[in-house]
Subunit: 337 residues, 2 copies
């Protein structure tokens, strides 16, 4: 992926080399399709038309580079979110890994349900049970410890359906889209309902998105000196939920300007898409990924437990957001490795 | 100021122009001093030595560009904070501007004190009074409305001592330092105890720091649809105080990696400097701006009401942070316009 810092680094090696590299990039761009995993259907055309509009200098729709902010939901937009959110699979694995140190969990819900693989009992524990699971597995440790646990898990865990690491279940068309936008001067941000610190340890390597461009839900952290060393400690208290009406709040807190493009797939992204596109004026782009491919991935929308797409699908028609039909519009879903 | 986006924009104009521009930049760099407003004393040498260390490839202290994060306090580090924090001057002006619509303020503290210019009574109102002032002047309006109020004020208000706009009371040596770090692949962030939305409207133009690289204190905001348009509304509730032990928390929330350089001037920056530099390992840089120049600016430290520098001055000696003596180390403080 093309990254500004790589470009600048190479620039330091000398002007002649840069000139040559730029000529190569320019001619490669002219010859090759930046979105090869997208079929030549309406969504691809809409993306390219939007990017050309906002990058054409002296056009009325031109947007200066610093304002080219694009925001992407993560679960179901950049990677698989079925049969459950990956972060939930992480929490369940953590309960199992820590069970030996917590003999009381054998008789205590929702931990009992997790240890017995009783998904019905787990569902019955509801949101309260879920928060309890998250706090038990995500808090009461230092920031560095949590980063290590996440990094180790993501490197080894495998999705049950595809039997692949979760980081290989990212959507190839969306990776191409991220790179295409960045090559056109966009700054790409992840705006996830999931935990900000669950995404950051691998987002740079997998998506090319650095930690400072990840927005997400969080628990409270506290600074303290421990054994003479400064430490950030994770407290079992919710700090911010970056979902639904929280997404525009999170976007404003982290980015401080309104995005010009937003990409989501569920009702959790509705307000982010509204905030991005409904300005009453300038050119904006909204896109919904609709999971329609039961053969290659999953098919779900209005009644799904994870990634429900109902209100936002109705809103897409009203607001002219581009809806991607995964089955029809994506040539490849995953990169074969 | 040299900005990446400007550079990239010009890059689009063609490889040949870029090559020419780079040759100019390279030769200009070789010939000219990137920190001309700094005297040739120890602090300048320490900065240059640090930057050369972390940017020299194949050296043991080399830091890849994405990890070159530098954080700057704002009040007293990048601009003047006496006779009072500029944001407090803003709040007082707002009370005066809105007094006609609030006849009850004539008899109600701390507003009465502000309207009568009674700084003793204002001080007596303490932190509780200050929070009341901030909430009354910073909340109960939309995000866009607040941005407009700040932008209009900063464009017209003048500092009482220098009779200049506040944006001309930024320290020229620090502007040069920001630009020097960016030219060496650093990403520069402001980490202010002041309000994030008070700094963002002008930080890009004045410091070359875009809104997404500003961290600061905040009040709660709420997303809602108003007359069919998505709106962020500012609520009169404290969300986060980005000061003292809050600074490492704010840095982690926004940036997600530990900075390698931190610049502050007061006890409010102590924990930020600890978090940045006390890693028990790799090369880091910490700097304290010590206000020692009563003639050209102000002289204050251990007993000052605004920007008290006491514990952090002791910590500087222990932790090898570079202390800038403004009188001795800065050739110019402000750029004459």
């Amino acid at each position: 992926m093309f990254a500004v810092h790589d470009f600048l680094k190479s620039a330091q090696r000398g002007a002649v080399a840069v000139a040559a590299a730029l000529l190569l990039v320019t001619s490669a761009k002219a010859q090759s399709d930046p979105l090869p995993s997208w079929n030549d259907t309406a969504p691809k055309a809409a993306i390219v038309a939007f990017v050309e509009k906002v990058t054409t200098e002296n056009s009325p729709d031109f947007v200066p580079e610093p304002e080219r902010i694009a925001v992407f939901d993560n679960d179901g937009t950049l990677w698989v979110e079925h049969p459950m959110y990956t972060q939930l699979a992480f929490a369940l694995d953590r309960v199992k890994a820590e069970a030996a140190a917590h003999p009381e969990w054998k008789d205590k819900q929702p931990f009992k349900a997790v240890l017995e693989g009783d998904m019905k009992a787990l569902a019955a524990a509801g949101e309260k049970g879920l928060v309890e699971l998250i706090m038990e597995t995500h808090a009461d440790m230092t920031h560095d410890e949590f980063q290590k646990v996440v990094s180790e898990w993501i490197a080894t865990a495998r999705d049950p359906k595809f039997n692949k690491p979760y980081t290989e279940l990212v959507y190839q068309p969306m990776l191409e889209l991220l790179a295409y936008l960045r090559a056109n001067g966009f700054k790409t941000f992840i705006v996830s309902g999931g935990g900000i610190e669950f995404v950051r340890p691998w987002a740079e390597q997998v998506y090319g998105v650095p930690p400072e461009q990840v927005v997400g839900s969080s628990i409270k952290t506290q600074f303290e000196m421990r054994d003479g060393l400064p430490t950030l400690f994770r407290l079992p208290q919710v700090n911010f939920i970056d979902d639904k009406a929280g997404k525009p709040v999170g976007i404003n807190a982290h980015i401080g300007r309104r995005p010009i493009a937003a990409f989501g797939n569920s009702d959790g992204d509705l307000e982010m898409l509204q905030w991005t596109t409904m300005t009453g004026g300038s050119v904006r782009f909204g896109m919904i990924i609709h999971h329609t491919d039961a053969d290659r991935e999953y098919a779900y929308d209005r009644k799904s437990e994870f990634g429900r797409l109902d209100k936002a699908l109705d809103a897409a028609a009203i607001n002219n957001w581009t809806v991607v039909d995964m089955k029809a519009d994506w040539k490849e879903i995953f990169l074969e490795k």
